[in-house]
Symmetry: C2
Subunit: 319 residues, 2 copies
């Protein structure tokens, strides 16, 4: 089937927004928004971000969610998507149909319109990339660099589910977390409302909580203090070593954010009404650097605080 | 070097727009525009759209231009870009620096801001994808489907340069067209102004003039009549066979558009003042189908009117 054939059969039905012109045009028209619009793009590639044997339905959902978590972290709600699909010729049309079906359902679940994209053949393996816009709830996006010393640090839901899934899969064990490795469970749209109302800075946690926390603190010109035992870990962490392992692995796609200490009570009330589970895990400090405690005692940190994607020298294949 | 390291060294300096936050954030903020904004994304992949040995500077310029031609065809001027770069670990850092340098210069030449993106390692070969926004000059984008029977058909500049370059390269000959194969020469911003003022429908010619013309006519609910001898071909076409070959190969990235017959005089005057070379090559008709003449005589058309990218069954490696 030709590229035009695939698009018409599997993707044009997903493109119902008027600006999408059913994907028949060279460009799509973005819907007009009263407030600021943010945009992000994230790619996933076979042999780097996923295995060739991973189910394409999971890949479709993960592709949407890793982009949505970026939009939510900016205090915005997802709007419109463009898909780049690099499809290997040895994958079947049924496999493509399964991918498109899962993608459409996941986009629908978030209220996202597919408005454009490009399909190409990809002899080197499946390549997926999504560009996603989002409408800011407040009159500016939440940024990484907006926090100040004294602001408290919060995290949505729990950390380490993907790591637990990775370990279980590697050991050949059954675990409910294996599905979290394949497709993250991310906060709902309520989290964007919460962040837009309260967060002075935010980001999604994709490369490990500790490393990402350093990024947020640095962007805000601050240091940070983290009480590792206040972090909600998947299946809880019994020891410091286990906590450090879960907090440096990544693939969590939870939202890390800072908020002024004075707004704690309202924040907690709003989180309840938005249906978002949050934990207070530390605070930003004057100066720089990251200090971590475990049950009140200072912790010596490992050299590597998170996962670094895409090294030139060594191509990390993960999971 | 880590992904963060590459981004900081080679791409952050290209991101000067305030909304880009120097690429340090999860999302970028789109600049606000008074009128409609269009968006497009086009990918290029090693072994499909280019050879591993092609100079990365040419790939960078082509990546920008194939997206810009889509924006221009909508009667819009390019604004902001997001880059997805899948980089194989066996390419050198100097090669990356050369790519980033050429990309930056090409974006600058078009006044485009790089505002975001994603870099990943790509074990299967270099993978490039650009998402580009554009600001419409008029109060709506020019679409493929807006033309009516009787509208005249026009094309910018000339067709077939890439095909000439391909043939020359295959034969081991020198030719000024080889550079057109590697990096298309596309119309300037004046073409967007011309289309916004006059075009009832438009698209860029990427997959062969004849096939793309059928797409435009079909989207407009029309048939089309084309005088093939009125098309300006690279180095001219001496015979009908040569003209058909050049008109069905693609990679031209010129703009095909329709305009009401009554506006011809003003269109030609404006084209001169916009510095855009255009040729009138036919007209849209009631009904459907494509009729082609050569020196006044009706032409039997080949079965395949253009290049079809990305077949599932056979992976076309081209050029």
């Amino acid at each position: 089937m030709s590229e035009r054939g695939w698009i018409e059969r599997y993707f044009a039905p997903l493109a119902r927004a008027p600006g999408a012109a059913r994907l028949s045009d060279d460009t799509a028209e973005l819907s007009r928004q009263a407030g600021p619009v943010v945009i992000t793009t994230d790619a996933m590639i076979e042999g780097v971000h996923f295995l060739a044997s991973d189910p394409v339905e999971s890949l479709a959902r993960k592709l949407v969610r890793v982009n949505v978590s970026d939009i939510l972290s900016s205090g915005a709600l997802p709007l419109e998507a463009l898909l780049v699909l690099g499809w290997p010729s040895d994958r079947t049309e049924a496999n493509l149909a399964a991918f498109a079906g899962a993608l459409g359902a996941e986009l629908d679940a978030w209220g996202i319109s597919l408005i454009g994209g490009d399909t190409v053949s990809a002899p080197g393996g499946l390549f997926l990339s999504l560009t996603l816009t989002g409408a800011c709830i407040a009159d500016a996006p939440v940024r990484r660099g907006g926090a100040a010393p004294g602001d408290e640090l919060w995290i949505t839901s729990e950390i380490g589910g993907a790591r637990r899934g990775f370990l279980a899969r590697a050991a050949g064990q059954q675990s409910p977390h294996i599905s979290q490795l394949l497709e993250p469970v991310i906060p709902g749209p309520g989290a964007a409302h919460l962040l837009a109302a309260h967060a002075s800075a935010a980001m999604d946690v994709s490369d490990g909580l500790l490393g990402d926390l350093v990024s947020l603190a640095r962007a805000s010109g601050c240091g940070a203090q983290l009480a590792l035992d206040d972090v909600a870990f998947a299946d809880q962490a019994a020891t410091l070593d286990e906590a450090l392992d879960l907090a440096t692995w990544g693939d969590d796609y939870q939202l890390l954010f800072a908020a002024p200490a004075g707004s704690r009570e309202r924040l907690e009330t709003d989180a309840l009404s938005c249906g978002v589970r949050i934990s207070r895990i530390g605070r930003l400090t004057a100066g720089s650097g990251l200090g971590v405690t475990w049950l009140g005692a200072r912790v010596n940190l490992p050299e590597t605080l998170g996962f670094e994607h895409g090294r030139i020298g060594a191509s990390p294949t993960r999971p």
